[in-house]
Amino acid sequence: MNSVPAPRVRETAPSLREEARQLMASPGAFFHHSVDEMHGIARSRLDDLQLQAAALCFEEQVERIPMVAKLAGNQGIKRIEAVEDIVPLLFEHTMYKSYPVSFLGNRQFDKLTTWLNKMTSVDLSQVDARGCDSIDGWLDLLAETTELDAVTTSGSTGTMSFIARMKTDIERGFRSNRITEFQSFGRPVAPGSVDGLIHVIWPIYADGHLMSFRAGQYLKKIFAQGREDHFHALYPEKGSSDLMWLAAQLRAAAARGDASRVDVPPNLLARRAELEAQQANMGKHQMAFVESLAETLRDQRVYCMYPSYPLYQVAARGLAAGRSCHFSPDSSLGTAGGSKGMPLPEDWAEQVSRFFGIERLERYYGMSEITGLSKMCPAGRYHTQPWIIPFILDPDTSALQPRRGVQKGRGAFFDFTLRGHWGGIITGDELEIDFSGPCACGQTSTHMSPVVERFGAKRGGDDKITCAAAPQAHTDAVEFLTTFS
């Protein structure tokens, strides 16, 4: 008698497509929350995963984000078969301020909502913004009634960018980046690094709709696990986007030599006294902040990652008061974003290190439009996170440069984890990326030269007011308001 062997139950390995989905859904989980895995994955395998993820992301988002559909339609692109196919679909960074300026000037937030709706997968057609009379009011409405947390950056021409970030995207980004922020490649991982309770140091307004204010609230939720006593903000107030708008208007008017045409929002005028009082308290808050860092957080495990100018301001304050900090050695302190045009002394980094009581600041490169934060390795190179596909484009024509060897030109990225808005962005930065083999530090990820320059700045253009200038811009605006008659 023949016996039929019992069928063997065999686990099917997940398909590449399935793995790509996992990577998109949670880079942290995919890499088992390990930086060694994240930045040790073989390049060829990562390339395969990234292509799959890009294709999947496009499939989804071309159906959901009108502007992606439009671009794809214009270019005749129906699917992603090679990673280069993504390049014609990348958004210029100027996309986020491509609305008619009068919408903002005339406070037509319903029209701005219609404009914003084209750049998000979230349906905003039911949002009634006609009653909003301020930028903050509009953004509050979006945050309260939709899955979006639309964030702004402000510009010197008086134009604000609005990026329709989905809350879950923002959170995923912070959780994923935490892995590289709290772990060093090839080194043992301190307990609690992945999801332990951390004190968050936030050297700016506790909240607000600028990404560089808003991020604090996410850090409070994720790193400080929602605990107020673990979230240390320099100013307890919400930084005002309307004030930033006014400041940008003033700056643009000064450049034109004509302040008489600055449009002062009535709701800000009404808050004059309140804002003036906030200004008056700034010094007090600064000293209290310095004290809490130096005393209350002694020996505590902390997290602080912020652009250099505000960090420097805090450090200078603290050193002048004769204070310095002593945090637990498994803390993570770093900076990203450069000076953004603010005047930094030569030894700013040394002052910051001295005040914070650390050997050196970690350095990062990132932007508000995507979630990947590139960390500088011991060999001095910024490493691209594995859920970000980097490109170098010709600075003049935006033609894709070969993804081989060392390439210098305009940086562009694709973040395929983003669900709420399109993760393809062409930056205004000149970058040099090495696409070839592993870095001297051992990480297999593509890496960038630490020298990053804005193209506008190089050719004598741009004069950006950015998040790092926020307190000064706020001050300028409040001063103008209070003397406005």
Partner: protein, 505 residues
Amino acid sequence: MANPIASLIIRGRIIEDDLVEFGGRGGALQFRAPDPHKYAAQLPVASPAALADLYDLRFDDILDYLAELGARLDIDRNAYLQEARELTYQTAPTTRPIVDTFYRGISSLFRRERVRAIAEHAIGIRYLEGWVEQAPDEGVRGFVRAFGARTLHVIAGNSPTVAAETVIRNAMTRSDCIIKLPSNDPFTAIAIAKTMCDFAPHHPLTRHCALGYWRGGDTEVEGLIYQPHHIEKIIAWGGHNSVKHVTRYIQPGLELISLDPKYSISIVGPEALADEKSLREVGLRIAIDVGVVNQVGCVNARVVYVLTDGSDEQLRRVNTLGQYTYEEMVGLPTSVSTKPKRYDPQLRSHVESIRLQDDYFNVIGGQGGEGCVIVSQLPEPVDFSTSLADRTANIVPVSSLEDIVRRIDAHTQTVGVYPEELKERLLNVAPLYGAQRLVSLGHALNHPPWLPHDSLELDRRLCKWIVNEVAPPVTELSFAASRPGATVIPGTKYPFTIEAYAVDA
């Protein structure tokens, strides 16, 4: 191969020793020039009295010199100019055919009739030649003469004609000039000066011209030269960047004439939309004012306002106007307009972003970096309108003149208008907001040189207007002894002068 030499020309002498390297950053021209620190002291004229030889010349002698110089500045025969042109191709913001057009035009700037016309209409030749009686008075007679000044010119390098105009102005006004050369084109002025040295090295007009290159902000050089005892006026082109090094030296005795960068606009009345013929004609006129010399001039239009009744039909026609403007612009002859050398990437980023926002903006052309026409669908210019360049125009439909004039300010130089009747209506209104020059649409690029520039009478301003007052003789005088304790001066036309002491006949 060694970098080209930007010679120092000091009053008839060509200097090419003690060379140091300049330039090279960010793609800028690299050249060698005599160390300005070694020669700075020789740049200013020895003393004000040295200008006396200019007053041995009659105006006709000046015209003769300039005519001769102009003839020798024929690009086809002047090796210095050819070399300058070759070197300028690299840094000029425009393309070769347009650069060629500029250089071909240099010679004719020096024509006798032209210079005479400028001198006559802008200044009045008789003021240059002698003392002209003003507003005759029965008593004291007043005479005015326009004298030359010792002037420093900080010139711009994006058009070779500026160097030529500077030499002409200097000669015409019997002034003495030190020309600080721009790093993006030091060679055109040098070519002109070398030609002067060739045919008339000892002529007063050659000897009252010095030019050279030093880095703007070089305090060792500027601190020495920019003093009232060396120069009386500074004229600076190019706005803030050229002026910022200069302002610290301004003091009584040193006058600064600053020409800031301007932008220009066009205004079109609804007549343009009436029919196909008008649309075509106005499209061409706009294309000319926008596209000629690739929009690098301050006179070139950037924003074009079109008055409409706000209807969809008229908006459709404005879009058609945009299409025709684009077609005409890319069809302009290459001697005056070409695809830009390099379409500014920042601008490109802005344009590509709004191209996708087709509810609000209709972007016509531009995919190949050739320039484009943006038709706003709402009555507002694009947010980046002040950085429009490289043959990029923004046509904006508006419903009232008020919408337009409130956007005019002191930086608005040329306003090209169609039709003529609309210009009439704007004549006494636009200047109140800051506009400086109204022209018929299509004529922005023609600036008669004897008319004011940027609302200034530049040529008059470069002169010193000196006064001679001649009092009639006084025969009999009364002296103090005859006026003991006098507290009041008797009635007289000139109580503060000797007239008050004339004894009436």
